[in-house]
Symmetry: C2
Subunit: 135 residues, 2 copies
């Protein structure tokens, strides 16, 4: 359960993580599969298995509203409790940030009600400044 700063990555995990870090944006599991066909990937499960581990290690986040995955911006997310994402619906850019105060408020809400929180999903959809300026 302890978060490792430098977990050992298997071959498949390293390939999937590489795809995501090169991408500079979110990728779906099937997009990753397509990128890795030349590296020998054949089936979705190879991608999903690697993603499961990478998410567990905190190296990758799943974007629920996109059914996609993105490399963590902080090279290992042990540093912050929980992440939030601002997603541009025009250009696809994703910005990860750590709204600690907001998360504290949400956490307090759960604690007041005896709800045992295991995962927080915060995703903001909209249009980024750059795209908004470009009209």
């Amino acid at each position: 359960m302890t978060a490792h700063v430098h977990p050992h990555l298997t071959k498949n995990q390293a390939l999937v993580f590489g795809s995501l870090t090169e991408a500079e944006g979110p990728l779906t599991a099937y997009a990753i599969l397509d990128h890795l066909r030349d590296s020998g990937f054949r089936a979705p499960l190879q991608v999903y298995r690697a993603l499961d581990k990478l998410v567990e290690y905190g190296l990758v986040h799943r974007l629920e509203s996109l059914n996609a995955f993105v490399a963590c911006s902080h090279s290992g997310c042990a540093s912050h409790k929980s992440a939030a994402f601002a997603i541009c619906d025009t250009c696809g850019q994703v910005v990860e940030f750590s709204p600690d105060e907001a998360i504290d408020l949400l956490t307090n809400w759960t604690q007041d009600r005896g709800f045992q929180l295991s995962k927080t999903t915060i995703e903001l959809r909209g249009v980024c400044q750059k795209c908004a300026a470009a009209n």
Copy 2:
């Protein structure tokens, strides 16, 4: 674009909304389809079209982390800016609440960066008090 308090529902919309209000919990589109076979539903699109409108009217919310839909707890969500959901992974119960302070903080973050926010998703996964007490 104006939110109507009592939008007129078509036959299919009323059937789908009825399924969700009776359910007392989230349903997937295909679960709704199964419930409504006796009422003449035959294809997923009939459900998705109705859900699109119901979400637009604020009568129904989509839970991104569950790929499911739930009736709004406030009989028309015009009252609150944005909703959050606490979802029990054990019993499936969903509690909708309105963390206005947390949402203000997130909204301020976006405004500071010129991000034009259109939709906020906040979903908390965990175990509810009742299920935690039952061990």
